[in-house]
Subunit: 372 residues, 4 copies
Amino acid sequence: MKRLKVGLIGTGYMGKCHALAYGNVRAVFGNVPAVDRELLCDVPMDKAKEIADQFGFARATDNWQQLVSDPAIDIVSITTPNKLHKEMAITAIENGKHVWCEKPLALTLADAEEMAAAAKKAGVKTMVGYNYLKNPLIAHAKQLIADGAIGRLLHFRGFVDEEYQADPSLAWTWRATKAEAGLGTLGDLGCHLVSIAQELIGPVASLTADMATVYPERPMPDGDGMGKVENEDVATAICRFENGIIGTLSSSRSAWGRKNHLAWELHGDKGMLIYDQERMNELRLFQNEGPVSEQGFRTILSGPTHPNYAKFCPSAGHGLGFNELKVVELADFLKAIDTDTRPYPDFDAAVEFEKVIHAIAQSAEEKSWVTL
Amino acid sequence: MKRLKVGLIGTGYMGKCHALAYGNVRAVFGNVPAVDRELLCDVPMDKAKEIADQFGFARATDNWQQLVSDPAIDIVSITTPNKLHKEMAITAIENGKHVWCEKPLALTLADAEEMAAAAKKAGVKTMVGYNYLKNPLIAHAKQLIADGAIGRLLHFRGFVDEEYQADPSLAWTWRATKAEAGLGTLGDLGCHLVSIAQELIGPVASLTADMATVYPERPMPDGDGMGKVENEDVATAICRFENGIIGTLSSSRSAWGRKNHLAWELHGDKGMLIYDQERMNELRLFQNEGPVSEQGFRTILSGPTHPNYAKFCPSAGHGLGFNELKVVELADFLKAIDTDTRPYPDFDAAVEFEKVIHAIAQSAEEKSWVTL
Amino acid sequence: MKRLKVGLIGTGYMGKCHALAYGNVRAVFGNVPAVDRELLCDVPMDKAKEIADQFGFARATDNWQQLVSDPAIDIVSITTPNKLHKEMAITAIENGKHVWCEKPLALTLADAEEMAAAAKKAGVKTMVGYNYLKNPLIAHAKQLIADGAIGRLLHFRGFVDEEYQADPSLAWTWRATKAEAGLGTLGDLGCHLVSIAQELIGPVASLTADMATVYPERPMPDGDGMGKVENEDVATAICRFENGIIGTLSSSRSAWGRKNHLAWELHGDKGMLIYDQERMNELRLFQNEGPVSEQGFRTILSGPTHPNYAKFCPSAGHGLGFNELKVVELADFLKAIDTDTRPYPDFDAAVEFEKVIHAIAQSAEEKSWVTL
Amino acid sequence: MKRLKVGLIGTGYMGKCHALAYGNVRAVFGNVPAVDRELLCDVPMDKAKEIADQFGFARATDNWQQLVSDPAIDIVSITTPNKLHKEMAITAIENGKHVWCEKPLALTLADAEEMAAAAKKAGVKTMVGYNYLKNPLIAHAKQLIADGAIGRLLHFRGFVDEEYQADPSLAWTWRATKAEAGLGTLGDLGCHLVSIAQELIGPVASLTADMATVYPERPMPDGDGMGKVENEDVATAICRFENGIIGTLSSSRSAWGRKNHLAWELHGDKGMLIYDQERMNELRLFQNEGPVSEQGFRTILSGPTHPNYAKFCPSAGHGLGFNELKVVELADFLKAIDTDTRPYPDFDAAVEFEKVIHAIAQSAEEKSWVTL
């Protein structure tokens, strides 16, 4: 296997996640190419140097263009604010780099599609940070469905809620603007939910939706009056998947008490699956099997019989953490690069997810059903 | 207080619930009129006599017209199949009886409105069996909301699922026909959810909906081919309440593993409430109060500090059962009769609930928003 | 079936429970003798009359001796403070009455044994209020064990905690004295736990124990200094059952947050059962069956496939309440009277339970193993 | 800060955990010395080389004596079977290395004390792998206790169960022998529980205990008859802590369904704390505060307001995994080395934990109370 050299742009939470994943992916998985943490970009230069040292990167830069065109670099990680993804990703792609980009790809669907087209044209590999897909229990759920554990699928309900915009006294930020942030809760959270729904069931065909800005104004940070919140705090859609299954997709960024409530239930004609990301090491399964007096939802704890878990731990119930999902994501990316196969979810797949959130916004504005 | 004599029509599950409530309501509550179990109606007469003896009723009949016109009777309980409610209730009302009727009032909204009009005209008291409203924890939730415990209301999600139609091999019955059963899951379950949503938030103003018959055919009981299922197994609506709050209402009668999953979450700008009828003695409350490091959802166990609980038990956490909700319902009805005040929910209130389920069906058929 | 006339002594919480059970037992069960609520005893007479009227008793008295010797009475319910049980029960028994007595039978084991001997001599039927045994899910657990669902039994852990003595500022009462109350948490709560352990596993053979009075003093109610607490707030034993199984029995009456935490886990060589009375309609079962990747604890909701549940409700997951356990208890008692069979748990059985709590106290005082 | 070079002995699960911790500790924490993965030891040499490459170690050896005496090495990680710890650790210590050793230190208390004495004499730093202590929520619990959140401590119950020896058909291994494995469940699991109890409450002063080998024989791996199991599958103690608090400590390695059930509850005179390692990102807190009608156990999700969590993730509820506890453990060790302070828990602390498990075994054998 060829060693791969990586460049990382951005050192916020997701930047750190990428760095940690690079640091351990080979120790965890074994059968992936070795990666060298080569170049880290942040501004100003002092910060870049300091964090490069902490994160174990050999060099630092304050110029992302330099990073994406550095001939030594094989893979570029983009973890900057969403509005910057497009230019950085396309430039990196045009320089022949493989790109690991955080979600959502872009503020608009058109921009996301442009990014996907650029990657296709350049023939590079891409990966998008829909990390919840990488949970061993989500992979297990998918396998259970394929094996018929809950029978023919009938009905889906999915939610993704956090509380980071629940406090009405929080100051106005750029996140409240369409120009800087694009969609609200749909872009931050909703696209994760779509990625899961699509993973489990397939593409969404049509939907009707509503959305609400529950705090239409927020105090300006300088104490000077109120600023308008342009994007949605809450959004809900009723959808039909291509296979006819009826579903609900709902998201709030203003949900007190919810830290990472990416939760769903999937009804089948033989059983049901239930999941909540806040208990990411548990999957609940009901099956219409055995004596009725003994039936009930079973709480399955994640363990080495579930995909990839054993790479981290040989014992069930010890629990993976959020950051470890990024290691699985990276392993998948590295394997795809190494074997010249399609990574999942790449830019094309991400476009499919992000189509849905834009359709939800459109339906909510038009007050009518939208066909995808 | 005047003693009241009651007649009961129907001896299925709800008939038994009514009988048990009559048997104990005064022992439980004290401050309600004494009731005499006077006359019970079922067919054939042998069965009526046997059950009258078991249920502690003095007399039996196999003729409901006789019961509703018996001069000794003050209150008539109607627990027969839904399609029979209308004629029985209106006849009883026209005979000047107070009527305690199971839900939904009728198969169509027009019929329900006719029943409510009859009661209004006759000036009798009515009560409809939306028993989940009577849970001490629902009353407590309502009080918490009024006291501002979760602040301004922002968002509601409600569900009501059971599994009684989850098995695709279950035989076709009259429940599958619009003529005999009216709506499907909306009529059986959905109206309960609406009653709770309205109790906590207020009237629904508009909605968009979808519904699905996940088992379009069921085997005929005689083994002779398949019968068509005319009404819905699953229905979901996105709604706006009159006060602008955005909400979701969703119901399935084909949800494996769910026995009585009447569950909801109500988001406010200071906190959240969560409830699931399958754990009817628990209410979960999150409040944005105190140090963030100590915040979390609190599981409140029902106890004597919650409305009416102390009538049943002086100790918290001992737990009420489903049947005891009917005792509260009856106590409310008897008090309203005794004090000549309006019972809740009476036929008028039930019409308001049932309007919503019919609007959901209409929106799903028309594929457009419906205004109530 | 002969109709039976009952007399009730005591109208506190347990008195009300008995009254409610008498009021509904035949409507619920059908196949039990009809009971007439004949005579109620409390003091003063005004209170007795008022409550007799509320509880549906035909007559009232303020003299318990009169009640237990009234020739019309077949069954006497004793729900007075524990120290009064013995004299009332023995007098009733000597008058040929069947006796339904609340637990514990008496303050000392010698007294309890005397009561059991009196009942044996008189040949009357007795029943003791170990109501948690009557939960359909406990009966189901017992059946599961008998059916080998968890294999050979290996290990038991049981707890019973409440918070009624958790507040250090609560005033001193007679409950703190050995003379008036006997044991502390062991007598109030611990004996319930023993009843369950014995039901599931069998008799306890030996044990080592410790106990603590975590609030050795409490403020006197008149504000005049502190009063000594003579009995235990917390007690824990490690035991061996006669069949060799190792177990733990632990109880606290000073456990903040616990309302009715009668909880246990039973380990077998094929699985495990877990139960908590605060969720009395749930039983958790793990079985080493099927693919490891799908194993997990199953949450069984109580339903009509569990013993006696269907008498109350034909639908699973609707939930029974605490008071309904007393109805099952009474039904068992009435059936035993009707068929002249042994009721369970009668005075003899209760003596077996209560032996264990006294042995725990003895071991804790002697700091050594005690053999029963 | 001086860079530190590490040598790792053993590449099983714990070896991998150490390797991952070394790989990321500085990226996670920043303020710790950089570590170089210098030398890895396993047998045979081919395996050592292969894993050194995977784990990112510069060199490999198949000779542990060589590793512990290599002048380039500053820190030695020992993750070999327990019976090997003593010789490896003492040799490393005598070569002036800091030692990070997995738990338990040794098979006997005498051996553990010898190891601690060697470390003291040599003046090196030591750390023992009691990783559950490092959970941000355990640190938070400790802080809550110190802040009086649950008031004066009254009562503790702790459990640690797994199912790795639950299957009676599992073959006999060296784990079943006292000579090779020492204690059974007490050594594998029980010492973890003691570490938590001591962290939260303080030292244990005395105890009475029982233990059982629930599978006294296991099939020999070669199919040739049955082998004797010499050590305990289940052990339970009732203890008194030095501060007088009464407690229970119980462990089973044969508990079907339990994957990592290191669970405890701590009762105080103002509230209660509850924890279960299988939900390691949740801490439950009850406080006797506010209206009784709103009291309940609060489920606190781990987040950046809890010690060290923010190093891994800025968002609450995203969840840490088991492996990340080892990163905290290593960070604590590196900081202690860097600042020449006492690491916790070092060999001395571990001896204190391990004293208790040996006292439990002694009490169970002697059938009497043991004073520590």
